[in-house]
Subunit: 361 residues, 4 copies
């Protein structure tokens, strides 16, 4: 196994548990363990799944053991066994942990909750895999920013993007939250315009003319984005859709198939047997997208719990420096996860998608 | 009383019951009665309030009587006693009723659910009161369109409007609906871009460059609009806010006052003692509005159950032809209802607002 | 005015603002002022309504003034002008304030959030008005407990109550809350059986055989109670309904009138013109109640924001000692507020209800 | 394959698609195909999964083909290839289909939406597997009734059950519904007491003294039941819990593990890698259950989309008559699905559970 990238996940929460799942299905990676500080069902399921469990804080080890969590050691022990750590701790903790990772000589991936300056590099595979090669740390941007870079990046690569304005209708809290963290029967607009996602996309694609506003709606799963895009020229629907089809990790859905809302797509993922019902792709409504002259308007769905997982897998490879071609890493990740370019047409998989891309390149 | 405009309301539902309330507080109107076909609590409350009740369909009269609703007669009897009827029946019924109203020589106001062509005229007081004078029928446009005309009309009147793109986050159903008419834990984007509200605004302001998209979120009260507006020139925040302040029926709210969401404003209306907690004004977030160069971005709240009520009152006067000055009717309506230009600053009422407007005119 | 009971309200929140409204419409009371520590729209509406405003904490006075809230003085100044203070501060604060009220020689009413032992007396008007006469303090029990005492007390007074088991389906947070205090798309059962409401009812009616369980559902307005009651004997529906009709502050609703859910009743209150749409009565479903042999099963609605308001008004009179007959105070309170024994039948008011009660006594 | 039970599923909806999944993992069954009439994503996912697809109505075949659904034939063709059909069509259709199944000589399983009299037999594996052996048809009772029979049956088998009263807090609609079938921000009590679930349990366990009331709350996944049970004698918590542990398909959850609400358990299922995140067991809160003297009160969760699936698998075996011992079928079904007696303790599986049961027998 020594030729595999040894990966550890610090923080077994919404993102951490999904990254652990994804690492385990990569042919070139092994999961050395996960670490956390909790004693509840979240970490106990890791035990049921026989994952090696470590205590992120030494002082928590005894408490976890007492609660029946089989703790193998502390985070330092885990760091001693891995090449790359994926920090999935709550916002702000990752920044504190980075020095510790560096001291242990372990490459580190932070999540979008951390500021760009902490790692000094923000990552979206299709946009800047190469610039992360061999770095000691990077930040995988947030779910909303990842989807923005994937889609606006697609239009940019096709030479179609001049200016983009986005309205983000965000989910209020995650579906499992039961401790009064939600909003009820209302919509909460952010008190500041523009919202942070626009500028955040510029940490990956600096020259975008992008601006976003955001509101929280009272649902628990997935964000819906609307984009009003000024194109560089008059274009047809097919040209715009073609640009999205050339890009990785954008899959088409259609209202004409009965995919009419966020929860339709969530059900579709369950029907397709996706682990946890996850949607890693940007789900873009092909038959809703409209183009008038040099203006394109479209909407897509962001599955906030999982969309950054494939980017995180690619970021592991980039930091490990084992694979220099980003497109190769993307294709490998997508094949291992079973990602698709279209959920219902034929048997089209991400693998075909990869061919499509090279054909299109 | 013969010098008062005699008004009847056909359809005692969400809009009808509010129009009946508003007519009763107008110094120059009298409510001759309301008509409906139901036997449930809605119409029974009209009896508790001692409103004259009529049966919209003769065949329903007996059933209503049997249910304890004191029916005074049929819709024809009501039509015989009034100058203007406000049709608040379900979408599509108003179109069928219009011929009957005309045959009875009664002027008619239809709601936004009907097509523009049915009445041949669509109404928003500040925009086209004069063109409705003496007509036999008009249509008060829908809640979303009314708010669009009020706000874009304000920018247009100030010479600031070039192009407007709106994203509407709509409520799914009304707060009282209990019979499985709602959506749950999702957002439903409309399957067609653009949505109908943009073109509908052009029935009142034909030369607007406006386009809208819309999604339903899973809350029950009020729509939230986001607008991205291209101005005719570089302008300051104060210029844009000034344009809104000059226009009627736009009231400012501030996140800094704790008005941070749709339900904050709803609670504010209850705190102010508004009947039914109604918000007739467009509630625009003063401290969220942003202007960058010649681009303005802002958000406001539309209380869909009540926003068209003041327009309906003005439409009654316009059709009756008793008052030729729209600004005079608007001021009278707003004073009678107790509308405000700002909900929290000082004692500022719509009346002051009216002065402000003439001062500003 | 010196012959009126001078009342102050400390804490202008959900309950406080309603108590202030109710005091202002009582013929034998005057509102000397309200005090709070906030600077947001809640207290600013008190200014718009011209209520005398005081700062609950001296150090907050300047901040409130700076925010535009016209502060007349501190809580001590208010205490110097009143006979009775109604403490509507957050849970736990009232207990801290009691000593201060006593030191000022002001009688005090605490809310149900405080423990029984703090005031040493828990109050529900129909059950124990007399025992509160002349006391220096009492606690008006919580919304759920108030409804339990009203309804089980009615069955007890009719000699029908042996044992009662209740299942409470509670609202998760108040309708105005926008700051992530809600639960979403779930039901949260309390982790302990029995829940506290049963024992709490025994602080007012010590000999009840009552036990409750409770769960939070994801709606924002009103609790729904189900009760399974073992009667002392076989009884008819009419006997059980008659017992409820004899008791004050229980009003009947009927599914056959279209009152089919919590939000139907909320809409009914808006339709009846209730201030803030408040429901002070227990709304009991007359046509859903079932009696089989000596078992009665029924469901009713508790409007948590307002149901304790009439009890609080009676508690003010009891502490002030001006009116010795509880039934007289209840009748006066209910008439002043416009409470009803039935919302839709005829013009039946609480006044008639009072007659009905004496007739039934 | 000829020695396997050949199964067809008519109706590929919420239940049908899950039954199809479950049949495919049974060692003694093969899925001959599924039939439906739709053309949307639901049936298209069946094609992506390579399931043999038939048209339930001949006239729909062409339309389905045109929509890209690979239709192999009609329902009659499917009936010609199977031993048992599981009818998962909408309520009322199954009753119409039964004659057709009988005419084709195919044994049939109907769902709980149909009346007991249609099949003349209602099925819950642990209660009456034997009485279904060799029958030509049976009805698998609804999700709520299945959970009631599992839990009250457990108390009955332990000789502890005298009388049971249940309050059911139901989900309003399924999580994927986006077409206005939901209720919003309310609770809807059933207009009749008792609700139908109590009597329905008596179609399987005729001598139960059971009565239920039910309300719909505004969430989309899982029902919560509260039960107030009069025991035949004074018992301890351990005795009552022991009775539940002896019975199949009841798994314990604990608030102390952070399983504090319906959505906690749903997340736990996703974390455990359950297909579609399904929960087939009754999830009973071990540390919330209370016993006072001869009264037991407890709450559990019913995953309405999946709980009847294992019962359906057992019903297939019972009708096919291949396996005469119900306990053997239950153990086989549970092992094939990966059901558990406890989700977090050790590696305890349904298999161990089976041993546990025989040990306990």
């Amino acid at each position: 196994m020594s030729d595999k990238i040894r990966v550890g996940v610090n923080g077994y929460g919404v993102i951490g548990k999904r990254v652990a799942d994804a690492v385990r299905v990569q042919p070139d990676m092994e999961l050395a363990g996960v670490s956390d500080v909790t004693t509840d069902y979240r970490i106990k399921t890791a035990a049921v799944l026989d994952l090696p469990i470590f205590a992120s804080l030494p002082e928590k080890a005894a408490e976890m053991q007492a609660a029946g969590v089989p703790v193998l050691g502390t985070l330092d022990d885990l760091l001693g066994r891995i090449d790359v750590v994926v920090d999935c701790t709550p916002k702000g903790i990752g920044a504190k942990n980075l020095a510790r990772y560096r001291a242990a000589g372990v490459k580190a991936i932070l999540q979008g909750g951390e500021k760009h300056d902490v790692a000094g590099h923000s990552f979206v595979a299709q946009a800047n895999y190469a610039s992360a090669l061999g770095r000691d740390a990077t930040r995988v941007v947030s779910c909303n920013t990842t989807s923005t870079v994937r889609t606006l990046g697609a239009l940019k690569d096709a030479g179609l993007l001049r200016k983009a304005r986005g309205v983000l209708i965000r989910r209020a809290t995650d579906p499992w939250e039961a401790d009064h963290s939600g909003i009820m029967n209302t919509v909460v607009p952010e008190a500041h315009i523009p919202s942070h996602q626009g500028p955040d996309a510029q940490t990956v694609l600096p020259d975008l003319d992008v601006l976003t506003v955001a509101a929280k709606a009272c649902h628990t799963q997935c964000h819906l984005h609307y984009w009003i895009v000024e194109l560089t020229r008059t274009a047809s629907r097919d040209e715009v859709l073609g640009a999205f089809r050339q890009a990785p990790r954008i899959a088409m859905v259609r209202a004409s198939d009965g995919i009419v809302a966020l929860n339709s797509t969530v059900e579709l993922m369950r029907d397709l047997g996706r682990p946890r019902g996850d949607l890693w792709e940007v789900a873009l409504w092909e038959d809703v997208l409209a183009v008038h002259g040099h203006e394109a308007i479209y909407t897509y769905q962001v599955f906030n719990e999982a969309i950054v997982v494939p980017e995180t897998i690619d970021a592991i490879r980039a930091l490990a420096g084992r694979m220099t071609d980003g497109a190769e890493s993307i294709a490998l990740t997508d094949r291992a996860l079973g990602m698709r370019r279209d959920f219902l047409i034929g048997r089209e998989t991400a693998d075909d998608g990869a061919d499509e891309r090279s054909a299109g390149a």
